[in-house]
Subunit: 157 residues, 2 copies
């Protein structure tokens, strides 16, 4: 669909930050990343504080920034997810440019509406079977890595 | 991948707003929508003013809002695209919640970075062949309609 060069740019030194406080879900995500996006380095933050530590460290050291963030919402309350989303969007570029996909077990309309209102790029309701987790991550690959052009992470250019 | 009920919610009275000043590109988009997303009503705005008129009218009349916006950037200058993006994001909910996919011929890194910085959900570089346009729209269907949960448009609930 895209030229090899453009696809190459998405994959080049690509990293994804997964912010997830549920260890069982993290294992499912890690497995799905291994099968569907093995070229991309996955970094796991178990708490909002840990996520901010990673992003701040990478910013200060001008390291490769993640090209996509997967954000759980209830950590443990949704206010923690919203606060983290706000913090990341308020960081200096290129951090503020990273698309954030909210991945939550909640299918409550208010959560979905709020995620888009607060700058989430899209909202995915967590699936229930391993096959569905794999299908979700195959679709993340097809869309974000093979169709969309991800933001250039300036530090690493 | 998702339950029939959730997929049904994405497709229910679904409308997409395509903001595109190039009539040739609009014909390609209309054709791709017909083949890949025929359940979704496509509304074409040829200028930023026309796009704002549509959105304002739908808001005032509490009509169904579009579930996704495809935004060309250079209309004719990119400043017109940025200004429109800012205007839409500043509208009251649910308008401000509609994900905006920037679809532009430009593959300039500054345009891509700016689109994410200014609240675009993702950035797609316009393809060159009809087959590629179809593949792009099939992917828009797979991701936004069949995987992601789109924002609930409150007026129509």
């Amino acid at each position: 669909m895209k030229t090899q060069e453009t696809i190459g740019a998405n994959f080049k030194r690509a990293k994804i930050l997964v912010i997830e406080d549920n260890e069982d879900h993290w294992i499912l995500i890690e497995n799905a990343m291994y099968h569907c996006l093995s070229e991309v380095t996955t970094v796991w933050a178990k708490t909002p504080d840990q996520a901010m530590d990673f992003l701040n460290d990478w910013s200060i050291q001008e390291w490769e920034m993640p090209k996509l963030i997967l954000l759980d919402l209830y950590m443990p309350a949704r206010e923690h997810g919203w606060f983290l989303l706000k913090q990341i969007k308020a960081m200096p570029a290129p951090c503020s440019q990273i698309p954030i996909v909210v991945l939550s077990a909640s299918d409550h309309p208010a959560d979905i509406a709020d995620a888009y209102q607060r700058g989430g790029s899209s909202y995915m309701v967590k699936p229930t079977t391993i096959a569905e987790w794999l299908a979700y991550f195959q679709e993340l690959r097809n869309y974000w890595w093979e169709t969309v052009t991800l933001p250039p992470m300036r530090f690493s250019v």
